[in-house]
């Protein structure tokens, strides 16, 4: 470079070079393109100011215009756009009938449970809350929902009277009930929102699990449709007949059914065989004994001997209604919600029917039913509660019930409304079966730790779903190492652990009250003290490292110097002024949450409880994370750490190489380079949902384009003979625990054209052309130029991307969360550390423990980052720091 350090002339020289270069560049670009660019730029510039202004105006105009006298009652619900339109209609009807009342609709999109949780703990929850039976106990137990019994017992109108009569009937002991009493509401509906006598909500629409079947496939196979009283044995035979290998590659691609091992799928089968998940008083797991094993063996044999059940991986990414649609699945157990979906498809695409659940070998027939409910927020004002109650009655009124029935998203709660609206002669299904099913339907035993219970069972069920991986190479089914007989005892053990915790909760709650609050008085202070102690200890430990000590001493000395000269003081003031936005932000927005989470990590706190309920437990959270004891420890932490490190170890270097490679390719001066850049950049900006739908289709082992491509490549290799020995695997991707992480890495590489590539591209632009010119004069080759100029000049960028990559990979969460719906994937192989932490915090409500986990991760990330930062002195080259400081 021709720079000399002699003041102004140098600056002038450089800026004129820059200008000249700019002009040159302009000359050799396409004039037409230049004009377009310039016009676009002008337009953009002209738009900036008005848009910003408009924004401000709109922001100020934001508060919606609601009539001043109107009573506003809010109503929150989850919905897709169709359900939302239905609710809007119902709200409009209500407003018409009740002038002066406005229903404010709060449409929750995405994670309803978490949104509700945050709203509830900050008392921002809506007055009327839509519930389902899974989230109901969480809020019901903690007193967030209004008990509706007093409202019902007023018996001021027909609806209240009918509800009261049914409730009276339910509350009398079974042996004293009037055998001739006709219940107005379908069986199990009112029970499902009743928790030990407390009626926290009322049901308004229900789903019983039925068997949907594809008539076309039955006709093709020459099988008669399921009869009223078919049995599980028949089910197995039919499923086997429906399983076919259509493309002749030796693997079935049309399956009898898709019932898998999983709490929701397995439970009805278990019941039909006379088994139970929990014992009568919900204190012990009841999934033991011959009946449970028998039920599990049916599915296990269907799956691994008949191959008539699709592997989870084979149908991954295709919703159940869809599996029927594609004509690849004969029978699907699902709720009523599938009917509107299937009706959308139309007769010509597929004919389908609705059958009862099969009967078990001992003559039992059961199915699961779930009800959607509606509740009143217990913390709202009495006037609003009255209106909310009126709204609930409106929700349950025949008119509205028939709207629900007509949409067929679920069954209305009264028989006559079902008959009047839900059952439609013109649709292909016999919806009567769904109504009849309520007679033998049961509710899932739901306990306050229900979600945790499901989570505990997941691992064993997952292993059963992929048993072929463990039983590989063993031909005789009798020798298989992983069967229901081996897994169920483990399952039972895990469930019992959760139930024990629940019992402990109850015991604590029973003794709680006065005793509890006394001990919690100083807990915040204690935790804060402990946090301070830890911070001081961490500081002292850090000080033991000479480099840290030296660094700090330098900092102090530097500051001292600065404050003792006038120039220094001016510099310091200026520097602080420039840094002030961040410093203020740190103080205002970040400091409190961080301190709070430090305090939390030494405590036990259920976020639904007031903050005074926080209990100081010292280091127990940290000890728990490191212990592998199944009861008091958390064995999943190790697994989560392993997953995270595996992911980071491969994803970071691969991602770095891909984005650097792409950036170098895209730094060429080729015509249409903008188009290419856009191509690589596009994947990173597609919204998360779409990417997940897309990739679960791509990874589908049977239909997915990825395995299709692999199959073709293998065929090509076979055809060449020379390469016939190469045989690429056709993995189950997201269905196989060995491949899930690799799938995720592949997905992340596809998105490598995002931030990493752009930053490299900008870095490459910063490499002065003169360096290359000089190298050209010296006759350096391309590789040499890359190695000796590009790489050294890019080291600051590589350094940045490396640090961000490591931090990002160790914090990997979003993809796994969306992809596995928070579950953690097959055999917990996608349960990354942060996902685990998230589940602990927001599903199991152990905020304290989750905070402790977060701080452990923080230390791990910190250690890795520090390693990179320390090493940077050796390999990172800053042009700016070459001379001078």
């Amino acid at each position: 470079m021709c720079l000399k350090i002699n003041g102004r002339s140098d600056l002038v020289c450089l800026s004129s070079t820059l200008k000249r270069k700019g002009r040159d560049r302009r000359l050799d670009t396409d004039p037409q393109k230049m004009v377009i660019c310039r016009v676009m730029l002008q337009v953009c510039k002209a738009l900036i100011a008005p848009v910003l202004l408009l924004c401000l105006v709109l922001m100020l105009a934001c508060p919606e215009a609601v009539g001043a006298e109107d009573m506003v009652v809010s109503f929150c619900y989850w919905a897709n756009f169709r359900d939302h339109n239905m609710y809007s209609r119902i709200c409009d009807m209500f407003e018409e009938q009740n002038p002066g009342i406005t229903i404010k609709q709060e449409w929750v999109v995405g994670d309803y449970g978490r949104k509700l949780q945050l709203q509830v703990i900050t008392e921002k929850a809506a007055d009327i809350i839509l519930m389902d039976d899974e989230i109901f106990p969480t809020y019901g137990v903690r007193g967030y929902l209004e008990d509706l019994r007093p409202y019902v017992e007023r018996e001021s109108d027909d609806l209240e009277r009918s509800l009261a009569a049914d409730m009276r009937y339910l509350n009398t002991p079974e042996d004293q009930r009037d055998p001739n009493y006709q219940r107005a509401y379908l069986p199990t509906s009112l029970e499902s929102f009743n928790y030990r006598g407390f009626q926290g909500g009322l049901p308004w629409d229900g789903n019983a699990v039925m068997i949907f079947y594809n008539k076309d496939l039955f006709d093709d196979a020459g099988i008669s449709y399921p009869s009223e009283d078919w049995t599980w044995d028949e089910f197995r035979i039919i499923a086997k007949k429906l399983t076919k290998d259509l493309d002749g590659d030796g693997r079935p691609d049309q399956f009898g059914t898709n019932i898998g091992f999983g709490f929701l799928g397995f439970e009805p089968v278990l019941w039909c065989f006379g088994g139970e998940v929990l014992n009568e008083d919900k204190t012990k797991c009841a999934m033991h004994g011959s009946r449970a094993i028998e039920a599990a063996n049916l599915l296990f044999d269907m799956k691994y001997i008949d191959h008539s059940i699709a592997w989870t991986g084979e149908m991954e990414g295709i919703g159940t209604e869809v599996q029927l649609l594609t004509g690849r699945l004969g029978m699907v157990p699902a709720g009523s919600y599938m009917i509107p979906m299937l009706n959308l498809v139309g007769e010509e695409a597929m004919r389908w029917g609705l059958a009862h659940m099969p009967i078990g070998p001992y003559g039992d027939r059961y199915t699961r039913v779930t009800w959607d409910g509606i509740s009143i927020n217990a913390h709202t004002t009495p006037e609003k509660k009255e209106i909310a109650w009126r709204f609930i009655k409106h929700f349950l009124s025949p008119d509205v019930q028939r709207i629900f029935g007509g949409s067929q998203r679920g069954m209305p709660i009264r028989r006559e409304d079902v008959l009047a609206s839900y059952i439609k002669p013109e649709t292909p299904a016999n919806e009567e079966a769904a109504l009849e099913a309520t007679a033998y339907a049961k509710l899932t035993p739901i306990t306050p730790r229900y979600l945790e219970l499901r989570d505990a069972m997941k691992n064993e069920f997952d292993r059963l779903n992929i048993a072929h991986v463990y039983n590989k190479g063993i031909d005789d089914p009798a020798d298989w190492v992983l069967t229901p007989t081996t897994e169920f005892p483990k399952l039972e053990e895990k469930v019992n652990i959760v139930l024990e915790k629940e019992l402990a909760d109850w015991a604590e709650a029973a003794e709680g009250g006065a005793g509890g609050s006394a001990s919690t008085a100083g807990t915040g202070l204690k935790a804060l003290g402990c946090a301070l102690l830890i911070v001081v200890a961490a500081f002292v430990i850090l000080m033991l490292f000479p480099p840290v000590r030296r660094g700090l001493r330098l900092q102090v000395a530097d500051t001292w110097d600065m404050l003792h000269s006038r120039m220094g003081r001016k510099d310091a003031l200026e520097g602080l002024l420039f840094a002030s936005p961040w410093l203020m932000g740190l103080l205002l927005f970040t400091a409190f949450p961080i301190v709070f989470s430090i305090v939390l990590s030494f405590s036990e706190w259920d976020p639904y409880m007031p903050i005074t309920e926080m209990k100081f437990i010292g280091l127990r959270n940290f000890m728990r994370a490191f212990s592998t004891d199944p009861v008091h420890g958390d064995p999943l932490v190790l697994k989560a750490l392993y997953n995270t490190f595996y992911f980071a170890f491969f994803a970071v270097p691969l991602g770095l190489c891909t984005s650097l490679g792409l950036a170098i390719l895209l730094n060429q001066k080729v015509r249409g380079i903008t188009i290419f850049r856009t191509t690589f950049y596009l994947p990173s900006i597609i919204a998360g949902v779409a990417t997940v739908i897309l990739w679960s289709y791509i990874f589908n082992p049977v239909f997915g384009p990825l395995n299709n491509a692999i199959r073709h490549i293998n065929q090509f290799f076979d055809w060449t003979h020379v390469l016939a020995w190469v045989n690429l695997p056709e993995p189950y991707w997201l269905g196989d625990p060995r491949w899930t992480k690799r799938s995720l890495i592949l997905m992340s590489l596809w998105r490598a054209g995002g931030s990493g590539m752009l930053i490299f591209l900008a870095g490459l632009q910063g490499v002065p052309d003169q360096l290359y010119e000089v190298a050209d004069l010296d006759g350096a080759g391309r590789l040499r130029k890359f190695w000796n100029i590009t790489v050294p000049m890019l080291t600051p960028t590589i350094y940045f991307n490396l640090i961000m990559g490591i931090i990002g990979a160790l914090k990997v969460f979003m993809q796994a969360y969306i992809l596995t719906e928070g579950g953690g994937g097959a055999d917990n192989s996608l349960r990354f550390y942060v996902l685990h932490l998230f589940v602990k915090a927001f599903v199991e409500f152990e905020m304290g423990y989750a905070s402790a986990l977060a701080w452990i991760l923080f230390v791990i990330i910190m250690a890795f980052t520090m390693m990179v930062i320390k090493s940077s002195a050796v390999w990172v080259y800053y042009e700016g720091e070459k001379r001078g400081r």
């Binding site: 910063g766 942060v834 042009e879």
Partner: protein
């Protein structure tokens, strides 16, 4: 004679190199495009066609009406306006504060600068999920729930720590000589920053603009938490409205996602000029 031969061979190798590069570009971009083609073709299907096997690559007839339908079914134009407002206001703050703070970390001397830099890095390292509840409680206490303020205001206070770090790295690569020269001429720090550093770091600013833009445009987590009135939702939430646990309208999801991508592409296209170094244009002036 020999000289010419040499020059000729250089030309040939150059040409080979070029075509190799082009070849790699085309090949890779086809590979990268396949998932996008799937998205596009799904967005032009009917509900039933999406799931048909074997796959339909080119739906007949293509349902272009899906792109109109999404605007009829939902107030998507409203979501678009919301997104633009949130993104514009937040991005402006994020880029401005990112540059200023990044510069102070890279070039200015102030007490405990390097220690604070470690703190800055630390704030990126803590998983945001733990702070979520505390942050929610905090923003709720100051009455910002169900407003756009929690999505916008933190951006002005160095909200994008990532940007601060990135800008610091870029400022560090700019030769010190420039500043020294300006200082000798009596240039104030602010002036050095706005007239020398900012114009020189245009590629970096373009990068953080584009990155910040994607981040804000696709941000789903914070609107989910802080907004309750659906008329205030951004597009990213709108896309989720075509999906619930029991029903999925994949064709609409795909159409909506592709529609949402268009403005990002426009921004990216216009930012491309800044990626091409040497074109001297005015950046963000204070």
């Amino acid at each position: 004679m020999r000289q010419e031969e040499f020059q000729g061979s250089i030309k040939v190798t150059k040409r080979i190199e070029r075509s190799l590069g082009l070849f790699a570009l085309v090949g890779l971009s086809i590979l990268f495009m396949i998932p996008l083609v799937i998205t596009l073709s799904d967005s032009l299907k009917t509900f039933a066609e999406v799931y048909e096997q074997p796959r339909i690559w080119i739906p007949k007839p293509p349902q272009f009406s899906n792109y109109v339908r999404i605007f009829q079914i939902l107030p998507f134009h409203r979501f678009a306006v919301n997104t633009i407002i949130i993104t514009a206001l937040a991005l402006f703050g994020q880029v401005l504060s990112g540059c200023i703070v990044g510069y102070s970390f890279a070039r200015l001397r102030w007490p405990f600068r390097d220690a604070f830099f470690v703190v800055l890095l630390c704030t990126i390292m803590l998983p945001p999920q733990v702070n979520l509840i505390a942050q929610f409680i905090m923003f709720n206490k100051i009455g910002w729930y169900n407003t756009w303020l929690p999505l916008i205001v933190p951006a002005y206070f160095g909200g994008g720590v990532f940007n601060v770090f990135l800008m610091r790295q870029f400022f560090k690569t700019i030769p010190l000589a420039l500043e020294d020269a300006a200082k000798i001429d009596g240039c104030s720090t602010a002036r050095i920053f706005f007239t020398i550093m900012m114009p020189l770091s245009k590629p970096a600013i373009a990068t953080i603009c584009v990155l910040g833009f994607i981040g804000r445009w696709n941000d789903f987590q914070s609107p989910l938490i802080y907004l309750s009135d659906y008329m205030k939702f951004p597009i990213s939430m709108g896309i989720y409205m075509f999906k619930s646990t029991t029903a999925m309208f994949a064709h609409y999801v795909m159409a909506a996602s592709l529609t949402a991508v268009v403005p990002v592409l426009v921004i990216f296209f216009s930012a491309q000029q800044y990626f091409v170094k040497g074109i001297v244009l005015t950046g963000i002036k204070g």
